[in-house]
């Protein structure tokens, strides 16, 4: 489903070249529940952004569902992100000017053409499922961190993506709430068959995944 072939990402920092990701080849299958592990600076975030199509590799190929996406235009990449990939961030990244419901509906605003489902109904279903339906008209700064992260997951799910990429989803939460979020992601993987990729440096969380990809420090390799 997601294939990386000899993917490298090199940053130019002043005079120095930093090889954040060095010739990584990976194959993540549909429905997998996997963790990307590594300490800070190991390049795991870069790898995640590459998989999430927010960044382009310096060399190598990224293949999603059989299509080489390395050469797609901005519009095409945006479309793939919109339809196939859901992002969950460490700092939730909800838009503070919009209510919970509006935040969940955000991705649908950037869809060109009609969707084959009722977005409002779908948003409400997700919010109900996550126990935050009563908070739908609240602004993000009026609800707790755990609730905000659940809104972010609902936003990631609204377009029925095939992959959810979570970047340190528990980083800003206490252990108990963090556990709830991880359980939620696990249940999405089990019940909906969504591929879940969690990027983390916490061993406890990584241990619960079915497959672990370790980034090695400084070398940028797996």
């Amino acid at each position: 489903m997601i294939k990386l072939q000899n993917v490298s990402k090199i940053y130019q920092l002043g005079e120095d070249k930093v090889e954040a990701v060095n010739k990584v080849s990976l194959h993540i299958k549909a429905g997998e529940y996997c963790g990307i592990l590594g300490s800070s600076g190991s390049g795991k975030s870069t790898l995640m952004y590459l998989i999430g199509l927010l960044d382009r590799p310096s060399s190598g190929k990224i293949i999603i569902n059989g299509d080489d996406v390395s050469k797609l235009s901005d519009v095409e990449l945006s479309k793939v992100r919109n339809h196939k990939i859901g992002f969950v961030f460490q700092s939730f990244n909800l838009i503070s000017r919009f209510t919970v419901l509006e935040n969940v509906l955000m991705p649908t605003k950037y869809t060109k053409g009609k969707l084959d489902f009722d977005v409002h109904k779908k948003a409400e279903e997700l919010l109900k499922k996550f126990g935050i339906y009563e908070r739908r008209n609240f602004f993000p700064n009026k609800i707790s961190g755990g609730q905000q992260q659940r809104v972010a997951i609902a936003r990631a799910l609204i377009m029925n993506p095939s992959v959810i990429i979570a970047d340190e989803p528990t980083g800003n939460l206490d252990t108990k709430t963090g556990n709830e979020i991880i359980k939620l992601l696990e249940s999405l993987n089990k019940e909906l068959g969504v591929t879940v990729i969690i990027v983390t440096h916490e061993k406890d969380i990584a241990d619960r995944t079915n497959r672990r990809i370790y980034m090695k420090l400084y070398t940028g390799t797996v």
Partner: protein, 335 residues
Amino acid sequence: MVMPGSGFNSSSGFGAGLVGGVEFDEKDASSVSRVAGVEYTVPLYMSTVKAEAGGNETTAYLFGVNEDYFNLMNEEAEFGELFTKSDVSSKAKVAVIGSKVAEELYGDDENAIGKTVRFEGMRIKVIGVVANTGDSQHDTSIVIPYKTTFGSVNPDKTFWAIYVGVSSKEDIESVKEEIKSVLSKRYSEDDFSITEQTEILSMINQIFDILNIVLVAIGSISLVVGGIGIMNIMYATVTERTKEIGVMRAIGATERDILLQFLTESLILSVFGGLLGLIGASLTVLVVRIFFPASISLFAVIITFAISSGIGIFFGVFPARRAARLSPIEAIRYE
């Protein structure tokens, strides 16, 4: 046209000429009328008045003249009739009004005939309406016999100017000289001036041209300064919302989506500015209306919105482009 002061074309200038000069009276008018070659002599009293009829009110120019005024100005009554020599000498309380005054006070031109108009404590009967010429001073005028103004309106029995019409063009220079010598017996030569209509027109046009250039210059500078202000605000907005832009890109917004979003914002900002300007202008016009007839044309409204949208788009493009070209990951990482 004989005017007090040394006139437009001297170095003393327009304003100074009017202030320091003499005030003409009936005697001057009759001595001017006796000059050979003079066909019409029209003493002119002028002021602005608040006219009222049947509950309606309007600001109008009041002209006190004699019957020759209509010949000189080539005017005919569209409805009713003009006043005559006997109306002037009998101080008849009759008026010939411009079509705009008629519309404001009575609804339409024809309706005005025979009605009464009140201003400055006088009650005057409207006997004629002159056709619309498109000239606002002309269309908003109330013309009455000059002798009728001698009273509450013009107690000093003086005139603002004396209009003179000659029988043939060739006589203009000699008539000017003759009038000059006649009036010099009474006044010093610096205290009045004799100007031809064409000279006045070109003088006034010149003044308006200069005024226009100055206004356009000030306007353009304000537009550029305002545009740069909008650009700065938009740059600040883009920086402030960098993270948000990153998130939007992550959930599927294209570069074009982001560009359009910020362009729309700067457009709304500038059109709102244009709207405020229009409200300001309307209030100014409302105040100015008390003294002069003034209005805002539809054309001005359209131009305002066109220019303010243009400014919004022009100065919004650069910040919006910066927003659209942000790298998604750098934007998301931005704190």
